[in-house]
């Protein structure tokens, strides 16, 4: 029955035949649309020269691929696309502005490197608790490879500091030290307390102790001396630097450390180890060199990522200048 129906053996007369040219045209159209369309898609895709970089939440893979290569002076075309949530893309130590990588939407970026080296690209949007793991590298080679000058070691290495050692103090300040109040005291600090070296290598507590012993501050209260320390620290920074540091902090650090520096950022709660920059007991026992080291190297085992390949020296200085404002605010009464 089935075969009869298919081949019409049961039909008594066959007056009409299928129009063969019509059948062939139908097959041609079918092939054109059904086979031609995928072929056209394939051909259009084949002509694309840009490298497509997919951005996914780090738990699902982060940047794919996470290693790229380029040559000095040769534009590297990237098609950036997020496969889940909003991400960002920036290349560390270049100063190039970050771009958003939107879900399902291609963002085209062209990078041209002037110097060979290994560059780190990273996500600039808080995409999830492991946002900071979202990184990749670009190996840039040059036609004329130069031997890179030996990099000077970070300050904490030079000073042989153990940046992982606890630096809590057994002190409790009644009021946060104020650089503004310190300036109002109208005391000229000995120049050694205002040197860059002191700011970089000494802890505020060490400077406070030294000042406490100095004759110029003999008549001052402990709180006044803390205000002087705040003023000394503030003298090593500029408003522009602090502003720059604040921008960097909000973009890169606040997710874990909180916008108020309290270690209570949206992702920091997941780690439960994000430093509290408002805690004077830990902050005043640390030096700028310690912060510099932690930022560059990252916090071993704490979830704190390394930023040494992303931030420039100036950016790290600006960031630390801003971190100190959590202890030494200018407008504190």
């Amino acid at each position: 029955m089935a075969a009869d129906w298919l081949t019409h053996r049961g039909v008594k007369s066959a007056k009409k035949s299928v129009n063969l040219s019509g059948e062939f045209l139908a097959r041609f159209l079918l092939a054109l649309l059904v086979i031609g369309t995928p072929l056209w898609i394939w051909a259009a895709r084949r002509g694309e020269t840009a490298v497509t970089v997919h951005a996914l939440m780090p738990e699902k893979g982060g940047f794919l691929p996470d290693t790229l290569t380029a040559a000095v002076g040769v534009p590297l075309e990237l098609n950036l696309i997020s496969d889940d949530v909003m991400h960002g893309f920036a290349v560390g130590q270049t100063g190039w502005p970050a771009v958003d990588v939107k879900p399902g939407q291609m963002t085209e970026v062209t990078l041209t490197f002037a110097e060979p080296g290994t560059y780190t690209y990273y996500c600039t949007r808080w995409c999830g608790p492991n946002h900071w793991r979202m990184r990749g590298t670009i190996e840039v080679t040059g036609a004329e490879e130069r031997e890179a000058p030996p990099a000077s070691p970070p300050l904490y290495v030079e000073l042989e500091l153990d940046i992982d050692a606890p630096h809590e103090l057994d002190i409790l300040l009644k009021t946060p030290p104020s650089a503004a109040r310190g300036a109002e005291l109208d005391i000229t600090l000995p120049s050694e307390f205002l040197s860059r070296d002191v700011y970089l290598t000494q802890t505020p507590f060490e400077v406070w102790q030294a000042l406490r012993l100095a004759s110029e501050t003999a008549a001052l209260t402990d709180e006044d001396v803390w205000d002087l320390v705040a003023a000394a620290w503030h003298s090593q920074t500029t408003d522009e630097q602090i502003q720059r540091g604040q921008t960097l902090y909000n973009q890169n650090c606040a997710a874990c450390h909180g916008s108020g520096g309290g270690g209570d950022g949206v992702f920091g709660q997941a780690f439960d180890q994000a430093s509290d920059f408002t805690d004077s007991q830990t902050m005043l026992g640390a030096s700028t060199a310690v912060f510099d080291g932690k930022i560059r190297r990252g916090g071993m085992g704490t979830g704190m990522p390394y930023w040494g390949t992303i931030f420039t020296d100036e950016e790290i200085d600006a960031l630390i200048a801003y971190l100190w404002t959590f202890q030494f605010p200018m407008d504190n009464e």
Binding site: T7, G10, V11, A26, S82, D83
Partner: protein, 466 residues
């Protein structure tokens, strides 16, 4: 209301009988189908930026539920590309029956393909499955995974491809369009709701069919194939299983087939041919509309997350609750309503018959529920179509200059009013149908069924409009 026969208009009939218009629409749909599968497999996994999700679950769905089903019934089945490949393998031709072989003369269109076709020993579909229970099960299965299916392009692509393979597989084993008739989860509810459509394929005079010994509408002739849906048009009393494929219009030598405009919902009050599998399809569709409204449009994030976390313990609980609601609570309460409204409470068989009959009152209610539900997300999300048309894979293309258009919800202020109108209209329609069905038997009342429908409507109004 008098029926109006569209095939009396020569231009309309010529367009319907000619295979080209239907064929063009089908291959365009097939190309779209293939691109949707490719987009799902190769394109961005972000659903709102992938053609497979936006095109299939927003655009196609809107077209289907807001226009094709309510206005044309099986109109989508007329142009559906899914059975094309299988039919080609069965028939050996795309456009129409090939020339009959006479003696040793080979067909003019002979080919290896036709050798394959000739070698097929197609079987009739198994008797025990000649119902829509498999379609009911298929739809339920899809519905359970819908949160994933509707949002993940890869899953959508796999399902679309599976439909295609199933259709081809069924065509290579069984006669006619076995996939469409007995397996397609979409075809099942299209068939149910096509009963309300104001369009029908019927014979003009059943006596002509009775006298026609060849029954070419069923066996086929040189002008067309025997009904691919295995339906004898002379016996058609409802739209449910007529696939609107137009073959009978081509094969009838007596010009006895009519495509008519008729009163909406005309099939619902036809007492003959009511079946329990169709009744349960009504519950499945109504219940799914309720659950979808809660999961996809409701304010409960945990419910959405649960529906999405397929395989988890929470999801198993969700799946169980879903099935209990649709296969237990809704039919159970409806059985009570039927029991309360019938005079033959002691007669189980009669009660079951009334239960099945009354369930047809849920057909307009269910269709209106789906329309109301679809109005929400279709108008809210249809603007995703513009960028996706230009960049179907999320590869940064801009074919029509619309890739950068932002998402914009349309008619957001009007939609709640429209939904209210649709749902209340559905209730009135269901109540009217329930009364007509109740009037078929003496001593029965439609009030309990109407109360049932009322509570469902109130629930949907709460879920959709709040």
């Amino acid at each position: 209301m008098k029926r109006s026969d569209l095939t009396r208009i020569p231009v309309v009939k010529a367009l319907l009988v000619n295979r080209w218009p239907q064929f063009i629409l089908r291959i365009v749909a097939l190309a779209g189908f293939v691109v949707a599968i490719l987009a799902g497999l190769l394109g961005t996994p972000v659903g709102s930026r992938n053609l497979s999700i936006v095109f299939v679950w927003i655009a196609w769905w809107a077209l289907l539920i807001l226009a094709a089903v309510p206005l044309f019934g099986r109109g989508w089945c007329t142009v559906c590309p899914i059975p094309m490949a299988g039919e080609w393998l069965q028939n050996g031709a795309l456009l129409g029956p090939r020339k009959r072989e006479t003696g040793d003369q080979r067909s003019e269109t002979s080919s290896n393909l036709q050798s394959l076709v000739s070698s097929l020993r197609l079987r009739p579909w198994p008797k025990r499955f000649r119902n829509i229970w498999l379609q009911n099960g298929g739809f339920l299965l899809l519905a359970l995974f819908s949160a994933v299916v509707l949002t993940q392009p890869m899953v959508t692509a796999v399902i679309l491809a599976a439909f295609l393979f199933l259709a081809v597989g069924a065509a290579l084993i069984f006669e006619r369009r076995a996939f469409c008739r007995y397996l397609c989860p979409v075809g099942g509810f299209i068939g149910l709701y096509s009963q309300v459509a104001p369009l029908e394929v019927r014979v003009r005079d059943t006596a002509v069919c009775a006298a026609h010994t060849d029954k070419t509408c069923y066996t086929g002739n040189e002008n067309g194939y025997g009904c691919p849906w295995g339906v004898f048009p002379g016996g058609l009393i409802k739209n449910t299983y007529c696939g609107a494929c137009l073959e009978c219009l081509r094969t009838c030598p007596h010009d006895n087939i009519a495509i008519q405009i008729r009163p909406v919902g005309a099939d619902l009050t036809v007492a003959r041919g009511r079946k329990l599998d169709e009744a349960f399809k009504a519950f499945i569709m109504l219940g799914s509309a309720v659950v979808y409204s809660a999961v996809m449009l409701g304010p409960w994030g945990w419910l959405k997350t649960t529906a999405y976390s397929v395989g988890s313990l929470a999801w198993l609980g969700y799946a169980l609750a879903f099935l209990l609601l649709i296969l237990g609570a809704l039919p159970g309460l409806f059985y009570l309503a039927t029991w309360a409204g019938t005079a033959q409470r002691g007669n189980r068989r009669a009660l079951r018959q009334r239960f099945t009959a009354n369930a047809y009152a849920l057909v307009p209610l269910g269709l209106m529920a789906w329309i109301a539900f679809s109005l929400s997300f279709v108008f809210a999300n249809i603007s995703y179509l513009w960028p996706v048309m230009s960049d179907p894979f999320g590869w940064g293309w801009d074919l029509f200059g619309t890739a950068a258009l932002n998402w914009t919800p349309y008619l957001s202020r009007v939609v709640p009013a429209l939904q209210t109108l649709v749902l209340v209209g559905g209730l009135a329609w269901a109540a009217g149908t329930a009364r007509k069905i109740a009037a078929e038997k003496r001593g029965g009342t439609a009030v309990p069924v109407i109360i049932y429908c009322f509570f469902i409507t109130v629930g949907l109004l709460w879920l959709l409009i709040g």
